[in-house]
Symmetry: D2
Subunit: 391 residues, 4 copies
């Protein structure tokens, strides 16, 4: 399975083509829209999230509510496009328009953004040519693609959820939950996607305070998936390790600067005897681990325990509070500040991370099993689970 | 550029084929052997590191000390192979040998290893068939391939080094250094690859204590690369982000459970105004950042500042101190303990991480520039650096 | 560079996302539409080509007439979609609609089509679920993507054209032309894209006669590209040979059953001394070949001579003249015949083949040179051509 | 499944690493050696084939005669290496050696070889640096990798064979055979791998005559595979068509200039009603085709009929009969002639083509089914065949 995404932040639409979904899988716009909506929520988002409501249209690969096996096209139109047809127009400008455009040229790269490196790389002296694509707006279609992956996982008995562990230095405690369903519901109920209500309240305060200061804060999100079959991924070659692919997926999300699996960096502070998960067996479950410190992976493969992945998102770099930068034309120093922005996008980023992990897990299953038909795939995965239990 | 590695821990040899190195690059066995030796050092390694000295033989792709552009084969023979020809023999066994082999069958999976999942995945009821390949012995040829990548980087003016930041909860402080060369020398001088002598001494103690307790400890390593051209990697598609590829490379190393770029997880505890690196410019250097909290990456691309990557390694799971596990044949619980092992492999892991990062950086440069001839590549990268400075 | 295509024959739209075009390349809808129009022409096409006029809309990756470096989305809407919203609807059917749909189910696989194998593969018992995607309608967006590749090639001094060599056993003779421009113009002027007017007239007759008989005929098309730099592709690994990639591109076109480079199969009937191209040199041109029997490739690389590739297209399998097949539900034999069809699609297939070859050539250039910025790319290719001349 | 090959013609060894073979598959050196030997036979080969006997050593991935699931290393040592240690030495030369080496430098590119383009591409002014890798010697390890693929296919009930159809304009007639086994035996019994004894005798004469004239001749080989499951490959995306991958595999073989599937180029001379294979069904076989003009592929997928692929090999370009070329240093014209060579390598090329096709077919099966364990894979393919029969 593979997908390409396209679209500029203020262009006419975002598009994704997903190639490789099994045939006969139920897939509806609603499945995707639920997650698009979840991505737009969250305390601390700026105005744009309120004015636009992202909705997907499926343009290929689905007929009468089921996939055909052919590539699926997902389109999210930009409601605001009518105001941008000039600035972001596809067609060439006439000389008058071009003259005006030059005045609007953005020559001031923002720290923490792709602006300057992207300008150098692609030869853009109008930074808009970079920022329109480097914008986190792109995560909309990654969430859309992830929603298709989640649908597939669900049909295979794999449930996935996410929540916020930390925002602006405030760490959630007491993160017990019984089922992924509970995790989903409780995180959905919180405007910061935090299971710990007390910590959640403090996070909200911190966001508001940061906003007041014209500043921004980041945080840590966690994704958990239950029900993965055993032995997905492989140790036989370094580039087939599934935990490594999941790590790349997380770090590829805008503003993410780190990732950990299971206890992650804590492992540097513990003894081996405290880190590894003892192996147990009973007739009902087959083999299992007594604990899950390794987050569901051993040897780059799933071990049947829940997959637990955390990622850290840096504070949004677009601040009211000015940072110094340099105009690329005049080479004069200026203070980079902006008029409106999100103070914190961590709750939304949890949804993106969930989508990114879902994609990797679904893809790894499709690489291993025959993913031509959904019904056969379901049967195969069930057989594999029985086989693993009997091992 | 791509490479495949092969070889079992006690098989006749480890092999790597590297495809895509430029022609006309100096490459000698010594270049590789230096790093193989570095990988075998470090306080806390077990006996095997003393008895074997890894040496590479180049078997293709190099003539008279320079690459040909054709695939390069690296072979590291196993000195100990003569003792393993029966247990690990390639040929089929006769019935007598087979009967004896059954007695030697390993049916007891070790917690924290690939044994059990790997056995289920590939249908191995003799765990030796898993552990021979899942062993960290494989990192030998990853270091070898990384050494070729490092040679290429060096010729392009990119210097790379690594050191140990934390072992068993002891964190190095005072990590200033002026040049990568200094980093390399000071970390080489320490038997735990730690720049902070005081912390290094405590790390050694901690390793010895863990060993005495039959336990093991993990830690954090850091890789730093200076001189990368600006704009390597890309923001235009999520799977082209170079920081994400680097993250995958780190997590794909045996026993690594997390990775961070720049300040990494610290970003969850800071304000945006404290995280982002202000942009400055002067005639001599062109654009630069006043700080490097983002570790050399913005928008998934290099920004000209040093690349800073950290990875966490869990304690080695092979312990004297027993962990519970279950025999796959009898389903009886047993205590998994072993006779000899490393108490800490973190110093060696720094060398592996350095190789893994070097590979990704070199590969990204080769994807972007014309890597057919080394001399042309050098000229292109130099021209690109001048261009970026003049931007 | 890579691209994905999506869309069913009677779905709402065809879509392609191209990832990896350089920034700063002029790209207009007109560039693409010219080729879409060329694909729809040709003696022997059925009614559909007349009722629909394919037009592309660029939905991302281009601003004010120039590429941004970000993915380019190309959309060709289906004018006829309004008549198909029920049969090809995305949404689930209510029970009444579903009952009606069952009546429309296609259970009769056509010989020579993907119908039966595709049904078995993906579990479709309504053959429409296969034929909507396996239809040659998909070549529309391959032509669109190829048009972008052709634009890039043109800017690098590579000209490409195509013509029809043979239709229904009638072979064109006297195929001399001076320039690719002449080839383009003369093939464009012929309704069967044949440079030999006499043969062209006979081809038209043959098509008309086949149509009258309710039959169809195939043919051979040739693609020629001039101006490729020397040394694109590589001999160092079998999967890097550019002629092999071109071969795959041709055979991947619907209904193509073979491909040859240069004199191709004629090489089996000649002596080595008649096949190989002698090498010559003069100050003005540098090295060149006196002849071009090998079609511009030696050792899987371009040699600076024109690239010459031919592909054979089988007759369209949808015939008035019935072929026997078997209903998948009843297992009864039936005669597969249809109501309307093209009698010959070879002239259009020449345009598709041209696009497919253009893509591979452009992509190979982008793999070898730095394709971030169009202006830098142009300079590099020019420098490479000078260098090769001075070799 | 993927593989890399490495090694120069006169270097110490050829190496291949195959990654992705299922675990538990029987694989012995004998399996590979049989095909290495077949590749070395054939009327018309030069002296080298007699002096060297290629034998493989398996260096990883196999234990006690069965694959482990980990990468398999195949090594073919060069018996003649002892005479080449200086000319092809890995280590740097001292100044005296270097001076001597300069005298041996090859500055005269041979027409029809990679020499000149390869020299320009990689910056080699000693053509030996090109020809050592571009030599057809590399096909040795392609045959070795193909032998592993053939073993896998055999265990899945897929039999593959090859024969020579045409040499130097002499075409075999009367190519009927009952089983692949018969094809294998009869082609093996002929020193030109031709089933038609009369034509075979003429081919031998033609080869001898060409040799006498200091010339060379090419020909056409055919590969046939029976037993492929239905629906391998896919029509849903152009780059998933299996016939296109097979075409690339054929053209990627040294000296191959074209490929055709089924009736191939004949399709340009026939009516649709004569080209397409009517579909039939009976209880015993399920669906089948009455004929096999399309060579086992419809819609880029296997259709259950035998896969039939032909490739054309040009005459070997290394001739006694001189061709003109130009010295790259002096720019003087010279006559390129050589002292010894094969007059015809077509019979050997059939074995290489067989290996190349086998690889693609095996790989496509592994992409579609779960290839972790050989026993499970066998069961899945059997189930799929039953399912297809019942469709």
């Amino acid at each position: 399975m593979r997908y390409l995404t396209a679209g500029e932040s203020h262009g006419p639409q975002l598009t994704a083509i997903i190639e490789g979904l099994p045939a006969g899988m139920e897939l509806l716009a609603e499945d995707v829209n639920t997650d698009l909506l979840r991505r737009q929520k969250g305390h601390g988002r700026g105005r744009r999230m309120q004015i636009e409501k992202d909705l997907v249209a499926i343009k290929s690969g689905v007929r009468h509510g089921h996939t055909l096996g052919s590539p699926v096209t997902l389109v999210v139109e930009n409601d605001d496009w009518k105001h941008w047809t000039k600035i972001m127009g596809i067609e060439q400008l006439d000389s008058e328009e071009a003259a005006e455009e030059i005045k609007r040229k953005i020559t001031r790269p923002r720290p923490g953004h792709a602006d300057l490196n992207g300008g150098i790389k692609y030869g853009h002296r109008d930074m808009r040519n970079v920022l329109e694509r480097s914008s986190a707006r792109e995560t909309t279609v990654r969430v859309a693609a992830g929603a298709a992956a989640k649908k597939l996982l669900k049909l295979l008995g794999v449930e996935i959820g996410s929540h916020v562990i930390e925002i602006g230095g405030i760490r959630a405690e007491n993160l017990q939950f019984e089922t992924i369903k509970e995790l989903q519901e409780r995180s959905e109920a919180s405007s910061v996607r935090c299971l710990d209500e007390e910590a959640g309240a403090k996070m909200i305060e911190a966001i508001d305070q940061a906003k007041k200061n014209g500043d921004s804060i980041g945080g840590v999100v966690e994704v958990i998936a239950e029900g993965m079959p055993i032995g997905i991924g492989s140790y036989v070659h370094y580039d087939r390790k599934l935990d490594a692919k999941v790590a790349a997926a997380i770090v590829s999300i805008n503003a993410f600067k780190g990732v950990e699996i299971g206890i992650g960096f804590e492992a540097a502070r513990k003894f081996g005897s405290e880190v590894h998960d003892e192996i147990a067996w009973n007739e009902e479950k087959g083999f299992y681990r007594k604990t899950n410190r390794l987050g569901g992976f051993e040897g780059g493969m799933t071990n049947g325990m829940p997959v637990v992945v955390r990622g850290v998102m840096k504070p949004i770099p677009t601040l009211y509070k000015p940072l110094e930068s340099v105009d690329i034309d005049t080479k004069e120093t200026f203070s980079a500040s902006i008029e409106r922005s999100d103070a914190c996008a961590v709750p939304a980023a949890a949804v993106v991370a969930e989508a990114a992990v879902a994609w990797e897990l679904a893809n790894a299953i499709l690489e291993q099993f025959n993913g031509d038909r959904m019904d056969h795939l379901i049967r195969q995965v069930e057989e594999h689970k029985s086989y693993a239990k009997e091992f």
